[in-house]
Symmetry: C2
């Protein structure tokens, strides 16, 4: 392992894996050069009958992704240096375990130990929203943007926010901070998967935009991004999107009142809708915050690939040897 770690800064390849409920996305890169990418279905692989069996099909899919990416790196002459993963659910990063991930059928899965044993390199795991936030913060820092008081809202299958207060990510007492998707903004409104009615997520997540569009008789056969792209010509799409933006604005106004962020960053797939999202969202947030200045509302710099980019940052950090005490030695002679 130490050989791989030792070479990581110059020649080692890091593998990043973004584990979702539908697909597992992977990327391998050396420095800033991406060598290969791969996407596989989360539940398309047969469970591996070995030490990985405890992780079921989802872990088998991850292993298939890492196998392929490590092979690509080897062909290019780069040894595997580290693996970074991000997953949904409750993740205990210091322990290297996924405490529970309902959609992946995992409970108390020691994913870092299992993959570390298989590949013989350092492995790190983090919650997907937090990994995405880390990537967004890194991208904003590189671009000279404000990262001190910030809310980052990736709009995906679900909606949750990463909160940055005084430059630090808010975790919460039980690791559950940021669940703005399950804030009620329409009492008695749409049923949400959480059991409540009228949640932000029930109107504004990609899954629910698509669901509400079809329930309203919409005919576009595509995902939420396709529906949003049609708002100028499809009245059903326009109505569903207006509802989504209004619910999201209510959530943003609540975050602004509670946390007073300087900037709200909207990301995820729908976050790349540009002014179709940002312009009406700014207007609706301003209308709800007439009593105080609105935060700036900006598009994500890390984009829809923020989770994978965050996993790559995790892997890079895991690959780097811990800073040695300064006893006059030089690490880069």
């Amino acid at each position: 392992m130490s050989a791989a770690v030792g070479t990581s800064e110059r020649h080692g390849a890091v593998v990043a894996v973004d584990v979702g409920g539908t697909t597992v996305k992977g990327m391998v890169r050396v420095g800033d050069v991406v060598l290969d990418r791969v996407v596989v279905p989360t539940f398309g692989a047969a469970p591996v009958v070995d030490a990985l069996a405890a992780g079921g099909p989802a872990l088998a899919a991850i292993a298939a992704v890492v196998d392929r990416l490590a092979a690509a790196a080897a062909r290019a002459g780069h040894p595997l240096a580290a693996i970074g993963l991000c997953t949904p659910g409750v993740v205990d990063s210091p322990a290297g375990t996924v405490v529970v991930a309902v959609n992946l059928d995992w409970r108390d899965l020691p994913i870092v130990a299992l993959l570390g044993d298989r590949y013989g390199v350092p492995v790190a795991v983090a919650h997907d929203a937090r990994a995405a936030a880390t990537a967004e913060i890194a991208a904003r820092t590189a671009a000279g943007r404000d990262v001190t008081e910030l809310v980052f809202i990736p709009i995906g299958t679900g909606i949750s926010a990463s909160l940055v207060v005084d430059g630090r990510l808010v975790v919460g007492a039980a690791g559950g901070a940021g669940e703005v998707g399950h804030v009620c903004v329409r009492p008695g409104g749409e049923q949400c998967t959480c059991g409540q009615r009228g949640c932000v997520e029930a109107y504004a997540s990609a899954r629910n935009v698509a669901r509400r569009y079809r329930e309203a008789g919409g005919t576009i056969d595509g995902g939420a991004e396709d529906i949003v792209a049609a708002v100028d010509t499809d009245p059903v799409a326009a109505a569903v999107w207006a509802d989504a933006v209004d619910a999201l604005a209510a959530g943003v106004a609540i975050l602004a009142a509670v946390l007073d962020p300087a900037v709200v960053v909207v990301g995820g797939g729908l976050g790349e809708s540009g002014e179709r999202l940002l312009a009406p969202l700014r207007t609706a947030v301003d209308a709800r915050l007439g009593w105080r200045p609105s935060p700036r509302i900006e598009q994500s710099l890390a984009g829809a690939g923020a989770g994978l980019a965050g996993a790559a940052l995790l892997a890079t950090a895991a690959a780097a040897p811990a800073p040695a005490p300064d006893h006059g030695t030089r690490r880069n002679p």
Copy 2:
């Protein structure tokens, strides 16, 4: 000035002043012994025609309070050591100014310099909600209670929360964090002073409980505390209070979803309603958070006097000499 400071630890008296829109409350104490207390109307004093004139009637009322408390200390043989104040509005504590306090008719008031010149002792000023939170945190720490992930909601004329994340008070980008009173929980509902409709504060603050009770035909001639005390026998009081608790529960559920605090502490005058508040509030919060564990909901330890207690802590800190470098000197021979 240094003589007064030098004696503060043993014999100096600290004056604490809680400046509100209706009354100015003051207290003078030596160590833990309270020598005197005084309450005067904020707008009952004629403006002082001297250096304090810039502060209008509210600053004249403060001076009257400090004069009286300093005289009480002097009669008991204790020199004035420091003054701590808390005020509503936007307060710049390091600069010692109140940037704006609409209800006190102050703008860019250098209150620390003005009172420091008048009394010749150190003066400190802080925002009232933050001062109250400091007192609550001190009281909870002394009682061995959790203060790491905490929301403190004093229910007074208005409602705002102090947020403690990872042991630190959240300030916000522009000092405006914690405004849960102006979170909309009933779209299209009661008009709020902020211009929105359906805010938590429009239903649940002491002023609005009293207003709604009278508008609903209630006959008790008293404040919100008296109305709450009558809920078992007065159906109008019961209905208004149920509405208040429900709106407050919606706000607490939002704070729980966003911040995941371990505990929500309810304070202020109405916070001392005991189980008439806590029992239905816990039930209503649980009902809204079926999808995740609820935070503990506890009564404030600092109580309705938290603002004044926080101002006293400010004064005590201002009176204490900065820690001297350890050159072998002894401060308490």
